[in-house]
Amino acid sequence: MSKRIDALRAQRMIARGAQLVDVLPASIFVQEHLPGARSVPLQTMNAAAVAGLDRGKPVVVYCFDQH
C-alpha cells in the first residue's frame, strides 16, 4: 500500500535516508532526475529490478507529473 506525499515531504524523507526510485524511461532519467534517484523504468520493473533496495528504509517513487 503506497502513501501519497508532496514534494516537500519527499525532500524531508530523502534527507532522512529514504530511497528514491525514478520509474521514467531510462532515456528521460539520463536527461534529468532527482538527486540520488535510482532508475527503475516502469516497463522493466520486476522483483529483480528492485532487489537492490534496502527493505529497511522508506522508498519514494516518482514519475513525470500526475501519474
Binding site: 514534494a7 529514504a18 534529468e32 522508506p58 517513487v61
Partner: protein
Amino acid sequence: MSDLIGGRAAWTVLGLPTDGQVGDRRRVSAFVLPARSVGIDATMADVRSVASDGRPVAVLGEGGVLLGVIQGTASQLPDNTSVESVMITAPGTIRPDLRVDEAVRQVREDGLDHVYVTTVSGVLVGLVIPDEIHA
C-alpha cells in the same frame, strides 16, 4: 512505499535541485509575472480598467481557468462589448515546471512576445515574457 504527488514536475517547480545531462535547469515558475485578468462576464470597459497600455488581458472562467485572451488590438471596441464575444479562445500555454530554455524556444518559434502559464488543470498562474528573462 510513498508516491510523490505530481512526480518530478512537482519537485522541479519548487526550484529543488536535479541531476542529469540537461544544462540549464531553471524553470518557468521562477520567471512568472502577474497577469491582468477579467472574468468571462466582463465587458471591454472592465478590460480597459485593468489594462490601458495595450497589453493582453486574460479571460478567466470558474476557478481561475484561462478561457481566452483579449489582445491590445481590441482596445477600440465599445465599452459594452462582452469579452466572451471578442476574446481569442484557448491561447497557447506552458506549465510552470517547463525549463526556461525550452519555454523561450517555443515562444520564439511561435512568433510571440509572451505566453501564459497555467497549471495542468488550466488555472492561470501568470505570464512569461522571454525578453524579460535575463541569463
